[in-house]
Amino acid sequence: EAGVTQFPSHSVIEKGQTVTLRCDPISGHDNLYWYRRVMGKEIKFLLHFVKESKQDESGMPNNRFLAERTGGTYSTLKVQPAELEDSGVYFCASSPKGPHTGELFFGEGSRLTVL
């Protein structure tokens, strides 16, 4: 069974440009999460989808970040325009529906470097 896949694995962009990160969760997983780790800091929650609906987006830093999950399948996270402080590793995770056991299946992450 395929795990959570993320694309691209690494993106280098100039300040002010736009980047879109994509996440394909494990098939059948209703819950999809985005987390990120900026340099030297802990992994922090960004948002949570249940199918195509945003359940919790309290971790989104500002309105330059836009997440979508079309049809309840894959998800995209767009940063527009990117700033230097957006550099870090963006992780996507998924979990099946049902009681939250804390067992999230993480992808390998998309590393974003903003110059």
């Binding site: 819950n31 992994i43 949570h48 919790d56 309290s58 992780f91 939250h100 804390g102 999230l104």
Partner: protein
């Protein structure tokens, strides 16, 4: 505000030398404490969930325990393949489904 502090930041062990990692937490109504393992260039990999003080979970050389203020990850007779960053996370009453992560402990086990 929910908070997780892990110590030490880094730990070097000889193969076979047992030790423990600490995770101290402050949370409004613990709904779960979670341990993850992360290898370089990879995403975190789930290890354990603990829900209440006194609970213990084991997996191979790893054993996680929980009190009302902290959790320990005990590593018995570690092997070089146990080298990784170990992450602790909590979910509180106010946290919906989001996990609050600590900064991790980087473990290196030398042969």
């Amino acid at each position: 505000e929910d908070q997780v502090t892990q110590s030490p930041e880094a730990l070097r062990l000889q193969e076979g030398e047992s030790s423990s990692l600490n995770c101290s937490y402050t949370v409004s109504g613990l709904r779960g404490l979670f341990w993850y393992r992360q290898d370089p260039g990879k995403g975190p990999e789930f290890l354990f969930t603990l829900y209440s003080a006194g609970e213990e979970k084991e997996k191979e050389r790893l054993k996680a325990t929980l009190t009302k203020k902290e959790s320990f990850l005990h590593i018995t007779a570690p092997k070089p393949e146990d080298s990784a960053t170990y992450l602790c996370a909590v979910r509180g009453m106010d946290s919906s489904y989001k996990l609050i992560f600590g900064s991790g402990t980087r473990l290196l086990v030398r042969p």
